[in-house]
Amino acid sequence: MDETSEDFGPGPDEAVVDEMLATARPRLRRALKRIERPRARVAVIDTAIGRLLIADGPRGLIAVKYLDTSDGAGALEDLRQRFDLEEDPATAARIADEIERFLKGDADAVARRRVDLSLVESEFQRRALKRLRTVPPGSVVTYAALADAIGAPSSQRAIGNTMASNPLPIYVPCHRVIKSDGTIGNYGGGIARKLKLLGAEGFRADRGNRLPGTAVYGHWASRIFCRPACTSVRRASRKRWLIFGDSAHARGAGLRACKICHPA
């Protein structure tokens, strides 16, 4: 403190300050407990798929943002309104490691992490995102199929919006949703990223970003997969199908081959 402040009386004794703090701390802690916000750990991580802002809350992961294509500062600001944030390098390292393993082909690496979708306000969107998590790696669904799967068969547009505002890309695999005409469609982090993520799962689009020639159609309910030309595929609505890059991935996801069309 500067010398002039002596005019205003001496500063308190440090021993007194210590004593007061000892009394004040537990009292303050009790009071803060009553108005506490949940805590979340945040970090910026660099991965092979770009720089990401991530946030992990008490009930699971709450945010993943591509920092080059979305507003990271805005996202951080929103999170601060609801959570007590702290930067946590340990969480950052764990998640960066998961994503690296995922990009090298270990699809389970991200599937196992708990996600918290409670920040998604619309019930419809939460339902769609939860259902999307059950679409196995190595396969894709169309916007229309996902709409159908959550019991809202004509809301493929709303599904599109839901994917665009997905708070947890990679973890909630919105890259596995494609257009009904068989083209790969758009992606919040850019199409190149969508192709890269799908590629890491063993799904490779052809050169026109369309479904590959080896694609097979798996039925969501019966767990049987068919060639695209199979009569049962033509008979049932296109909306009911999961699309795998090839038979091996369909088998890997626990589906069996159709006995009519005998896919390879």
Binding site: M1, F8, G11, A24, R25, A43, V44
Partner: protein, 168 residues
Amino acid sequence: MEETARLEMPPAFEEAMRRHEREIMRYILRMTRDREDALDLFQETWLRAYRAYPRLDSAAGLRPWLFRIATNLCLNHTRDHARRARVISGEEFEAGGRADRAGTGGSPDGVIDLRAKIGKLPNKQRQALVMRKLGGLDYGEIAAALGCSEEAARAGVYLAMKKIKGAE
């Protein structure tokens, strides 16, 4: 991981408390010179800070922001208490006239007198003065706390000092 970007945000609230609780307590004690009052005001300062914490947008603004909260609470407290004392005793008390309730030991008369004078200052000048002389903030921080320029903060303290000395 040196290439990892740092997040542009204030530290976790716990960390803010760890860093600043001591100087805030010292400041409040100096302002009130009453232990009970200081404990209450300390508690209130941090509770308010916690509620408003999401609205604080930069790490650099943290210290002045905390001092502003503490300053306003202390000055309001002093003002309200002086008013109450006036009503109760029926006599003209000046703001800060409660120095007789010795909290941190007896205070020399000169101090009481000063407090009365501080009570008469315009609000901005009073805030700037106590932050500078009792809180030890630099002019940049005072400017940040009061939302004015550094020159205005400097002028506020200067004018306040001049008034206090001139009124002697």
